[in-house]
Symmetry: C2
Subunit: 196 residues, 2 copies
DNA sequence: TAAGATACTGAACGAATGTTCAGGATTCAG
DNA sequence: CTGAATCCTGAACATTCGTTCAGTATCTTA
């Protein structure tokens, strides 16, 4: 790899990291390009050299997040034997990774904006569908194995999604330990709620 | 009441209604004063005649919301006999009133802004504490009556809060029927999760 | 009915924001 | 070593937004 390519990749990463942190912290609209330049030392122009636009940068982060999250999950998934264990593992990864679900405030806020390009809207819809589908599969496994009551797996997938999104918001200003406790308690309740 | 006073009150209400709808729909930052003038026909200046600022308008709406919500709740509360019934009633009012919890996206977004006045921040913290306290009391009643397992009522109050906040976000683009179904299912799970 | 109070208008302003662009610096290929 | 490619800068631009204010219309009061 070139020195040029290396440096380019490094700045790209530096910008992405700072932007991610800011978006999570302040939300999409409230984070300005200048906030990002302040945090990275890069110039405005440089950000637009590496990313198409603010929207593009945001979508890039979402994509990256999703990929990372799934990769990490797949490493762990084998080690869990029951659906209940998987559920706890799921919650723990949620907390430990970033104390924030990708579908959090920033995304929701981004969603309601009116001037999105249609391809970006498609991408977002796809992501939501993927998350629901992931949840449904997790729940369906438990139903099939007899751990959970047979029932509306799709509906429960939405409930789980709601729970996780809500937890990330409620826990945003909590300590790691508090967050872990709350998540664990929430999963406890959810599991008892759907257990046979 | 004067014709002047009447008209003044009417416009005030007209502005508040439009603003509430827009804040819920688009979020705090994304809703401009001009959006509100477009929706009401009033001029910008007129909004600043009736409200101190955009922040002031928002806080006014929150206050109003909380008062209305509690008033409506207290009308109904007598008719419920068990804590479980109360819980379902709670969820239903949540959906029917506005399909949105007062502590929703807009508030959370408002929260992370950096330029709030300190008295407004106090007011917000107070509101959050009130909601948690409301939830805890609801749960404690169920524990006392033997409907729910004895346990961490405070922790469960946060879980319930998270669930409700998440539900409002997930249901934002759903039909009324879908929303009611999802909320009901969520409360089902939550109740089974903490039942004796 | 006259004077004052109240309700409202809309142009103007300053601050902030996303984006562009002409050009400078650094590195690569031949 | 030289020209081209790549990486980066920062001033400039066009918009948008919250807020103000001088002035007008409408109503109240005496």
């Amino acid at each position: 790899m070139n020195k040029k390519q290396l440096q380019s990749e490094q700045t790209r990463k530096r910008v992405a990291d700072a932007a991610r942190q800011l978006f999570v912290q302040k939300g999409y609209k409230a984070t300005s390009i200048e906030d990002i330049t302040d945090a990275t030392g890069s110039s405005k122009g440089n950000i637009y050299y590496h990313f198409k636009s603010k929207e593009g940068l945001f979508i890039y982060l979402l994509d990256e997040w999703d990929r990372d999250w799934i990769a990490k999950w797949q490493e762990k998934e084998h080690h869990y034997t029951s659906a209940a264990e998987k559920m706890y593992g799921f919650a723990e990864q949620m907390v430990r990774e970033d104390l924030n679900h990708p579908l959090t405030k920033a995304v929701d806020e981004f969603f309601v904006g009116d001037d999105k390009t249609s391809d970006i809207e498609e991408r977002l819809a796809e992501m939501v569908a993927n998350h629901i589908s992931f949840n449904r599969s997790l729940i369906q496994q438990g139903i099939d194995s007899g751990e959970f009551k047979p029932g509306d797996a799709e509906g429960l997938a939405y409930v789980l999604e709601a729970l996780v999104i809500g937890l990330s918001q409620v826990s945003r200003r909590a300590s790691l330990q508090q967050a872990l406790d709350t998540y664990r308690l929430a999963i406890d309740v959810f599991l008892h709620g759907i257990a046979t």
